[in-house]
Symmetry: D2
Subunit: 353 residues, 4 copies
């Protein structure tokens, strides 16, 4: 089969690869819509997961089921499905402990374009189809639904990690596609004021549409100073991090009230340490909780997100600024993601067969 | 001072009463806007809290501070404040255990027109001003803010009791003013589909504006059957109860999935027992949690709700279908609440001084 | 193979049945130690799950793995394993929602001697071996370990359902083998005073050894009156139910403080309704939470329980008052469970091969 | 009155000071038993809270009520009371948000020998007597009860911060008096194996009596290596920190499983930053939660702890290795705490009047 792959560090291209085979619990799909992700960029051009040869890229997809294993109960060829970026082994001890995304080891629920080939191929493999696929609801476009693979669940995770509750004042650091979903997720957990930190015009517009009440631009001074000024020196209840780097946590702790919390969903690509300022952390006694985690994947999460979209709670299509047609345009879409023009939020590729 | 009171069971009228005196932690206010509540109706015409003589009615108010006690730190005469219906003793053991509304005994955080005179008076007393008042934000009308005394916090409590989370399918039983706030509260905790049970046209309209996706009319058959039909026999994740009676729980348990939960905020005025159907409750092992509780009051809750309103998360003014002007119109507004014409959601009285 | 089965309502006996076959994720074991359970008694003599013909009984076992499916990673023939009574389908939507015991439908995680043959056979089948078996730790006897199949996890569930926390006063209703584990579970969640309701001498002794501070005997008057007297009229923080019937909840609600909670793990075998007293439930606003649920099974739970036993936190062998040797004594042990002599807590059968 | 005070940085001595006056909600007590704390040492000899002149030291006490304010309901002269180190303003917005220890600002629930004079005086003041005193139960010695002021509640907080649950494997870093209480607190939240890190013989003995299963001595190599070896490379579910310094968190994160948590109750006296290792923290996605907080004080907490002690759940008297008689011995006891001889866990001073 034809596939678009990481050939080695910094190199991508089209390759021929054997069609994956289907285990008794699994499914084989072909993509109907896919989206490249910043993680693909990290993987290829920053070596985030080390060097790889001919690893098929991509982990955001809606696909058609072509084949299912003998023990699959609920899916059959012809079903159009949302495919989560994280496809856990649900019987693992980690999943039983409540952390399926770490099934078999930290972050190991992430299999596509990491432990196995991704979705930028004519055919791709989904482990545990009953546990990890979800039917695309009637009336939802495949393109919109690709945002349920990673963007939306990663965004909602931030509020869950930090425990956002009714009336919280919240800072959202970063309003790329994930950060925008963090904004919407905070609204849908009851946040009051939402201070969104970002500058790009398209992103700012969507942040406001999603419910941000204040936009903070780092060009106007330190984020910390701006937040403290806007809150009369009180600080905020929660800081949700979807951008920045290991240094972001320093300011985040400083702008938190005691009893506040940080929820991080940002991939931290470099630096040895995240540094927590001792005094502002209450000399170790300030109840400023710090949490950080990979998205929750799997079937039920996808079903829940799809139900939210169908009920009108969130419209992920606002992220889709650039649309491509045809399997062959995957490369173009990926390069766009890498180059991040000012007007980009997220590209998506529609694939007709 | 002049006040509008329950004279005895089934009787109300204007009385003269001594102006309340102010303890060292307390405040005296005069009302700027007040709203009668179904609870006032229960109190007078159904004897919900027993017989009372010359008890001043009313527990939903925005007022101006006239006097504060010696130990009050944060409020001063002239401040315009939101007054919660529930004003706990914050140093009680119950509050320290997380249940301030039961400070000093079950439901004893409810003081207005229960343990002491209410707000339908020229002057009213607020215990623990620092703990129980909240400044009316600039830009919020006093009339709208009266909905923060009871309607909004009672409504949000339902989702908190039941633990609504992202993607839950939720039934809301009853869409009077509290039920409508329950609908909005469920949206703001991440509910997906919301099945609102009610029939009155005004209420249905606001329910849809607040985010209900489906309206269930009991005239079209049993609620249970309709919910099961609409969910393909699966049932729902949460049932939030803001109407009905002790029998409502029977159907509620039946329409819940295992692992589901009930959150009740409805005052149950009669009947000896709430009855839980044994088999549908999983013979005592179905993880269908049943919770029920009085609203959370106090200052911080009011501040949180006010912040939510100012951020545009909820617009409680949609409830205000009938507006009155002048202290003397309190009686008319109360009678309207008692008589519940079809187009009523909630009346409010503006009081100029 | 030879097996001990329910022949029909009220009838049991030895039968010949075909050895179960092993799916790709599954295992076949032979029992090394088994224990009959009150549920077996309910099943046969009370028709709890309806009529059944030649259904092999038993769901508490330690066994030796004889065969594993092709896709089993972590177990192999010769492994000695603890087998939980509840063996969920871990990829089900219910498990993904946090309720594996209801995978595929309410209570459907319970498969042994319900949806399929139980463990009182020369060979028995375990679905999803990787997800549902746990290695018997060195130094733990198989007989003790049979108490981890059902008694211990059911007991601990009560405190989890009710949310027992440091310093709670707790009533435990019923001190049969499950109730005794409820007592120990409450100690290990931080309970202060534990009022254990029961009369049988053996059970009372073990209850005290497990940490009960007060024994309440229904022969000395109503349980409610005794609890209220012992708590100076305050009532308790939690009521954990492991005995009684549908009427037990009436008294339980009455003895709870506002903000308290009920955790039920008792199988409710008869009666149409559990009845909650309206007034004492705070007219629907008292924050007296009512929760009830089947035990959590599966591998990780067994591993956690085994670790607790090995660390000396709980000694389940105290339950084992009657010990039998040999596969053929299963009937005698079951009849003992049915007849419940005064000195019985729990029988266990050791099986040498 | 006579009092023992910090005269300035590094200097202590007896002073004469005016007897404190009693507000309307407050109480004046005289000490019956007091204990010096490592925090007193930090305050005087490490300048932890800055320079102070004639600040009376001490925050662990049992005392007799001599005087109460006009609005105090539940206490009267002659009552013997446990006094928590943390005495919040219960009506503050922080307390209403669930964080009374930060009432009025981060850590500001800590008033004794910080915002006002401490308990090493002939008379001391307690703010909000109804909210912050607890009756000493009959049968509990005042000396034992001084351990409820700070040692026990600080210890239990660690397990609460980290969310210890049934069957967790737990590391406790530091087994001074607080660390020992952390060990006991972990047992009473259901921990399985407890790896206690420490070396002093007395402390090790008590750690084992409290329920530690393994003792780790840093002299035998890195703590991380030892924990990983003892857990077959799996790591642990929770790390509870009651010793070490800002660098302790680095190892702590490394020894955690994904989905694990850190609960810190150690005062971090120096260093600019706590450093979290990026890769082992799952590049920001490992669900390794980091929490840290001051103890929960106030009346209800003291009542809960006292109930636990009376029920035999924890025996804090095991900490009391050195006993002194007489008000005048406070200095000797404090110097002992400063000098920390090898056989010291905790000194206590009994004061007869």
């Amino acid at each position: 089969m034809k596939a678009y792959a990481m050939l080695g560090l910094g190199q991508t291209g089209w390759i021929e690869k054997e069609r994956p085979s289907c285990g008794p619990m699994d499914a084989i799909l072909r993509p109907i819509a896919v989206a490249p992700c910043t993680s693909d960029v990290h993987t290829v051009w920053e070596g985030a997961i080390g060097d790889r040869t001919n690893l098929v890229l991509g982990h955001e997809a809606v696909g058609e089921v072509l084949e299912v294993g003998e023990y699959v109960r609920d899916f059959k060829p012809g079903d159009i499905c949302i495919v989560p970026a994280i496809t856990p082994d649900w019987n693992s001890v980690e999943a039983q402990d409540g952390f399926p995304m770490h099934s078999g080891g930290m972050l190991n629920g992430w299999k596509f374009s990491n432990a196995k080939d991704g979705v930028f191929a004519e055919f791709f493999h989904v482990n545990d189809a009953d546990g990890n696929l979800a039917i695309l609801p009637e009336g939802m476009s495949p393109e919109t639904a690709t945002m349920l693979s990673d963007m939306l669940p990663t965004g909602l995770q931030a509020s869950e990690l930090a425990g956002v509750r009714y009336g919280d004042d919240v800072v959202v650091v970063g309003i790329g596609p994930v950060g925008l979903m963090v904004v919407r997720g905070a609204v849908l957990r009851g946040a009051a004021r939402i201070f969104a930190v970002g500058t790009r015009r398209n992103c700012v517009e969507v942040a406001l549409e999603y419910g941000a009440t204040d936009i903070i631009n780092y060009k106007n001074g330190s984020i910390l100073d701006q937040v403290m000024a806007l809150t009369n020196g009180k600080g905020v209840d929660k800081v949700l991090i979807a951008g920045g780097d290991v240094n972001t946590f320093d300011e985040a702790v400083r702008m938190l009230k005691p009893g506040g919390a940080i929820g991080n969903v940002n991939y931290l690509g470099s630096g040895d340490y995240i540094k927590i300022p001792r005094v502002e952390w209450g000399v170790g006694m300030g109840h400023k909780m710090i949490n950080a985690g990979l998205m929750l994947g799997g079937r039920r999460r996808m079903e829940r997100l799809a139900a939210m979209v169908m009920a009108g709670r969130v419209d992920p299509s606002k992220l889709l600024t650039h649309r491509f047609e045809g399997f062959d345009t995957i490369e173009e879409a990926l390069f766009l993601m890498r180059d991040k023009p000012a007007d980009l939020i997220k590209p998506v590729v529609s694939i007709a067969w």
